[in-house]
Symmetry: C2
Subunit: 554 residues, 2 copies
């Protein structure tokens, strides 16, 4: 048994049965070994960012890692942005990165580069396997490291000769490490803080946003009046009718500050203390209000759900009734198509059990609002801020959950980073509906140009700067784009067409693409007023701030 | 003047007047500063690999660096593969990578990652500018480092607050460092080796493949009988009628060994000693024949052309007549369209002064043969082996040389890594003709699967392995793909259509795409026999080996 064959068996034994791949010469023995392991499914991508983003999306839904197969340092580099998103979302991913044969490295051939340094950007577990005999033990440790807790990106570098030599010995996973328990004293301290009656909120992240965590948190809220927030970009959140509704913190720091205003206790549950996504001149990065104490109920290495349940027990809330979202759908949208109406159409037609992948940026701000009472669904978001995540995540989610429809809502700018995903959707016949909200712009950068003060004092940005945010010349034709890669594609230029196309696509298995032609969600007067509105938000009376927040925040 | 404005002036003063960009929020002040510097042209890319590959192609033709503008570690990651190609080609590139404001880094916001580690994969010069006051001095040093010699990728990391703060002070470049002279004693030693009459060859790389170096080398060859080779993947080679013809070393190690067979002296002129591209079980990586001495006339930090000229003088060859290639065109190809006939069509119609970007892989093996006597042209190749280089390189070459047609020959698999390049071609109205040789396969991997012995002993690869190399299901429609990004696109399914489309495109300004539908260059019997032919090549009588080489080697 050569190294590659033993590795393949080790992975399959460990439950790693999907490999998102873009191989080259140094990975050919791994590729050949696919035919020796019927449990392993290999899903080919035309670009490595598709493979890594698919592994991310797969693990979010499957709850276990997939492997990627990447070609040396350059292949890893191409996959880095979506591995970054996985890292920030604490998602388990196992990279298998081919390397030159051990004796070939010293010749510094064309593709030679330092793979380990690149890997360290996203992986704390990085190892170049030194021999065929050690390979499977290394692989088992890599899988265990990826699984965590917390989940992480583990990178196993596989020299070609380690792969092709005989003497591979399949290895078993080390025994799983249960997550550490949250500390009793910490939980009691948090219970006391909540009992004090001071304004408090739970900030839920990671696994706490799945049903068991949501229910425990909702019981606590129902009994004590504590508020519930979800982190800005959840790795995966279960929501919709029949589940507790949790409001996400807003992307815009100014709005998040309104949400957090007046808190005396912010209790982190597998979530980071909230900070501004970017820095802005003269504005604070730390969003925790002054005088607010931050408590960590559970870190990402600890059992967050168990911690919530124990907190509920400590507060006598374990028999409280959680507040469940009632079924609620928006009416059928009509009139001129806008991004808001695309979101409304989603809420109007969404069937049960859909996995929504949200990378719609400015076009998606109303999505949480319109889907709040839709049939139960999952939402996957842009955890690391590296755009180009949505389409690959949709590939992975569809591979993980073939029985569930996947709906990817993606901005035109974001879509183009990893547009090759469409081909893999077609090749694998994946049940993904891709909606590309084409506003012919990096619209969010129009907002950010204003927010960072780069647009000048009222004068606005100059023509060269504005051209850097503009995708209208030439406009991208996503119907031809989708068709070029074998995906059934239509354009929706009216609201009626959008609703019909969406309902059809979600009801018809296989990949679909809908190009929704929409104006910028923030343009004209709205864009010019934005800095003033945002700038003065903290000073507004709370009811008014809440109204604005409801209109704008995700 | 803020940091970004001072930086922009520093760059323009240093001759860096093109920036290939894909900005985000942290780069907005740099973007705004574009309107303060009329000398700076910003070329937007939809994906960072396009921006970095364009900067590479630009510098190869302009002989000076362009800047890239990339968004944090993830943007740099997306651009890494083409920066690798630039690094291996010793091409000057200046990366400007935005970073969070210095005071924001500690909050580990979503996009935070360790940019410097990623940069070190491709850059020996990496610096995070610490203050607005120091920024321009850092930038000037970065440009100087990029220019070299040797050319390199320099990465300047630009925190947002360093960019937006007032107090920027434009800086001038340090005085240029002339390349070190090749050593007199070394040149004399080489002259003696050549005079010995033992079989010797010059291996030319880097700047030695432009006209002055080629002429000096050809004079030496004419006078002494020394053979001339070019490195496998030249950064840029000038060739065609009226220039000395230099044979490139073959990609396939087995063929390169035939080319180098019997040499006693291999003289490196800004070239690396030849090694196999990949390692293969049981085969040597080092391609220098036993008993052959390797001499370095000039390293990449030294004046290679001056070294050649001094060697010519030492050998009394400076008045020798260089052997110039006579004009020679293949006839018009006819019959069923094949990759070979696409190459023949190029040779048949090529106008004067074209820049050929060759990433055609297996489909391009006959290109050097058929263009040998075509009107004078340049060829740019895949220096680092990281595919996805061709289309971005074409973007950059066209920006550098607006008066010259660019012809990019790219395989279907390669094209898909950076297909977003087509949009930038359309947006900028670049004079690029893209020919995508669509054989519906990672055809080179079929060859490599055989060569590394992964296909089994005669049994061939299994269906899962073969599927990993297959791009036929679904087939990619590059006509729709090109049209979706605004590029005039046609399909050539016959040889007649191919010749006509190519002639039309090269004569008509603006971007064009021709999808050439071709069979695998290596398939069926040819593929099955390849390992046997290659394996036994070294044992063949030389004339037979030469015939095979002429048919197969680039």
């Amino acid at each position: 048994m050569n190294g590659a064959q033993a590795l393949m068996k080790t992975l399959a034994d460990a439950g790693v049965t999907v490999c998102f791949s873009n191989p080259g010469t140094s990975e050919m023995h791994f590729v050949a070994a696919l035919d020796h392991e019927p449990r392993m499914r290999a899903v080919l991508a035309l670009f490595e960012g598709v493979a890594t983003g698919a592994a991310d999306g797969y693990a979010r839904m499957a709850g276990k890692p997939a492997a990627t197969l990447l070609h040396l340092g350059c292949g890893l580099g191409n996959g880095l942005a979506n591995l970054h998103n996985a890292r920030k979302g604490r998602v388990p991913v196992l990279n298998i990165v081919g390397e030159h044969a051990t004796h070939h490295v010293k010749y510094d051939a064309q593709l030679q580069s330092d793979i380990e340094t690149v890997a360290r950007n996203v992986s704390t577990w990085v190892r170049t396997s030194a021999s065929t005999g050690e390979l499977c033990r290394d692989a088992a440790q890599a899988v265990a490291a990826a699984v965590g807790p917390p989940g992480q990106v583990a990178t196993l570098i596989l020299p070609a000769d380690v792969s092709w030599s005989e003497g591979g010995v399949p290895a078993a996973l080390p025994p799983p490490v249960p997550p550490a328990l949250a500390d009793d004293a910490v939980i009691e301290g948090i219970a006391q803080a909540i009992r004090s009656g001071e304004k408090a909120a739970l900030l839920l992240g990671g696994r706490a946003l799945l049903e068991p965590g949501l229910l425990a948190a909702s019981r606590i809220a129902a009994r004590t009046g504590v508020r519930l927030f979800a982190e800005v970009f959840p790795t995966r959140i279960e929501r919709g009718a029949g589940l507790p509704h949790v409001e996400r913190l807003a992307y815009l720091a100014e709005l998040a500050s309104v949400q957090l205003h007046g808190l005396k206790h912010l209790i982190l549950v597998d979530a980071k203390s909230p900070v501004s996504f970017f820095a802005y001149p003269g504005k604070a990065s730390d969003l925790v209000p002054e005088g607010c104490r931050v408590h960590a109920l559970a870190t990402s290495a600890q059992d967050a759900v168990g911690g919530l349940q124990r907190l509920a027990a400590g507060l006598g809330a374990d028999d409280a009734e959680p507040v469940l979202q009632a079924p609620l759908r928006p009416g059928r949208p009509r009139g001129k198509l806008t991004a808001e109406k695309v979101c409304k159409a989603v809420g109007h037609v969404l069937p049960e059990g859909v996995i929504i992948v949200d990378e719609a940026q400015t076009s998606g701000v109303m999505l949480p609002h319109f889907t709040r009472g839709a049939p139960r669904h999952d939402v996957i978001t842009l955890t690391g801020g590296a755009i180009g995540q949505g389409l690959p995540n949709a590939v992975g989610a569809a591979v993980a959950c073939p029985e569930r429809p996947v709906l990817a809502l993606v901005g035109d700018g974001s879509a183009m980073y990893t547009i090759q995903s469409l081909w893999t959707m077609a090749r694998e016949g994946l049940n993904v509906t891709t909606v590309i909200l084409n506003n012919k712009s990096y619209a969010i950068l129009n907002v950010e140009l204003q927010r960072v003060g780069a647009a000048g004092n009222g004068a606005g940005a100059g023509p060269k700067a504005r051209a850097q945010l503009d995708l209208a010349d030439p406009g991208l034709d996503f119907v031809q784009m989708g068709a070029s890669m074998g995906v059934h594609s239509v354009r929706a230029a009216t609201t009626e067409a959008m609703v019909d196309a969406l309902a059809h696509a979600l009801a018809t298995p296989g990949p679909h693409l809908i190009e929704a032609v929409v104006p910028n969600a923030f343009s004209g007067l709205k864009l010019r007023l934005l800095p003033h509105i945002l700038g003065s938000l903290s000073g507004l009376p709370q009811p008014l701030a809440r109204i604005i927040k409801r209109k704008v925040a995700p």
